[in-house]
Symmetry: C2
Subunit: 327 residues, 2 copies
């Protein structure tokens, strides 16, 4: 079981004592799910679930729900389902990237091969829906399936656009919405639904989730260029190396003929990512991309409806956290 | 859109005129889903859905439901969801097997690469649950997620046991239940639920589905050894080449020291599959495996509850079809 990360701790404090109980119940439920697969499955799926991460998306589910004084069983299931979908995506991403390490541990693909990792991801996907179905709410299943459809669509879009210098800002943002924002939106939506919010409130919280998710991805892409590696845990320009065209590159190409002339496949082939990161940075594209992300977050904050003070403060701290990128 | 296969036609005739309408509605719904993915997705996910196959599992859904004279919208969604999960599994299987052809067409992995194919499979999985969630029935979502969890579990088990000569009959049957029977069971269960069957009837139909699914897989594994290739569309011993230990091999090892002594990795490495198929066949293991499958089907038939004559006849024809392997 992973401990709650220090920066997440602030959100937990702000949101109220009930959140701590929910986070503990989530870990327990995930541990049960990890243990419950028997035989081979217990190994990889279990390890993946247990390996953790900061449980940011479950936290968003809990905070979006508010404090309703019930036992939160349905809420914990919703949070577990969101985390399972997130884990499934990571496992499949690692297969595609042939990644060796994730969260400091050997990836499933590295330790057990592509086949096991693909099936493990499928299993986690399926378990997510099985878990959520226990809540007996069609609107929740619909929200999660919309998000997981979006995730797969985002992944497809990213692979389709790989090494394509003509990717527009609009298309990039669309990809971020599919790849990242949709699951944050679903996290808020599921929390709001379990928290018995009315239709308008559900939509407002969902929009907040979408905004912070979008900003999260844009800032992630900025960090890929800016580094430093000791902060991000990976080398600068990893996106350039696998041909993923992100906002910093798109903006830099608009600002600099030199960057616009770069052959994306040649950067990857010649392993010139670091130098190109410097060139992108020199155009001021990183500041502009960061500004766009901050505007999206500000907009998300502004659309938050009137809510109990503790809940509102916790949501604001989550937005801060996205900007500070603790997650 | 694929035409209904001739042998399936007999079931359609027996089950009643309403089935023909449902099969047409299914094709229309699948075509809508194929067209509805936009951009890149329309390509691969759409092609996969449209490419068809014999729609055996949707047919099972329809027949299990009986004839209730409603518009069958919920039933069509259930059938579409089952077919989408099946398609998702095939796409991922093709990735793992690096297969070039499926149903006479180029596979997604062959035409678009592993990344696209993995994401396409994920998308189809997600779309299945989105589709089924429209039915607003928690029991249906639970049935499908149980089946898709089982599918992934079966795949994991298969990969974990690859090249392992110590796989027991019990473990092999467990794998077949996960890999194949679970989705046939879900098809029957979903049909029964949409057909407003009571709890006992749902369980009886689900047991029938499980039985024919199990037999289906065992007979598939027999065909892999027996061929002939012109009937199966693939070379004999494909399972041996990828290390999948199936019932014919397990039984042959019990009956023949020569077979028991074979090194499974060496068979694959030296491409001696055809000769080993002959050796397995010579032990009589194929007859025994076939007999086991037929017993399972007989048991499934025997447990069928009293049902309207047309429905009962159609279910019997489906059982016949599994034995004759039209599917």
């Amino acid at each position: 079981m992973s401990a709650v990360a220090p920066a997440v701790e602030a959100v937990v404090d702000a949101a109220g004592a009930h959140i701590r109980g929910l986070m503990a119940a989530l870990e327990q439920r995930l541990a049960e799910l990890a243990a419950g697969h028997g035989e081979v499955l217990a190994g990889h799926a279990g390890d993946t679930i247990a390996a953790g991460g900061k449980r940011l998306r479950p936290l968003v589910v809990f905070v979006a729900a508010g404090d309703h004084g019930d036992d939160g069983q349905g809420l914990v299931r919703a949070a577990a389902a969101v985390e399972l979908v997130h884990s499934a995506t990571l496992v499949h991403d690692d297969v595609l990237d042939a990644a060796d390490l994730r969260r400091g541990r050997s990836t499933v693909v590295a330790s057990a091969g592509r086949a096991m990792a693909t099936a493990t991801g499928d299993l986690l996907f399926s378990r997510a829906f099985a878990e959520l179905a226990l809540n007996r709410r069609r609107d929740e299943v619909r929200a999660l399936s919309a998000a997981s459809t979006a995730l797969a669509g985002g992944e497809l879009l990213q692979r389709a656009d790989a090494f394509d210098p003509e990717v527009t800002v609009e298309r990039y943002l669309r990809r971020c919405e599919l790849k990242t924002a949709a699951l944050f939106e679903a996290a808020c939506r599921l929390g709001a639904l379990e928290g018995r919010a009315d239709g308008a409130r559900v939509r407002e919280l969902a929009a907040f989730g979408r905004g912070i998710g979008l900003a999260f991805q844009v800032l992630d892409d900025v960090l890929d260029v800016s580094g430093p590696p000791e902060r991000t845990g990976k080398r600068r320009g990893a996106d350039l190396l696998d041909g993923t065209v992100t906002l910093p590159l798109i903006l830099a190409r608009q600002r600099s003929d030199d960057v616009a002339r770069l052959d994306l496949r040649e950067i990857a082939a010649a392993d010139r990512a670091e130098a190109v990161c410097d060139a992108i940075e020199a155009t001021g594209a990183l500041e502009d991309a960061r500004r766009l992300a901050l505007e999206v977050v500000a907009e998300a904050r502004a659309t938050l409806p009137p809510l109990p003070a503790a809940q509102l403060q916790a949501l604001q701290l989550i937005a801060d956290g996205v900007v500070d990128r603790y997650a």
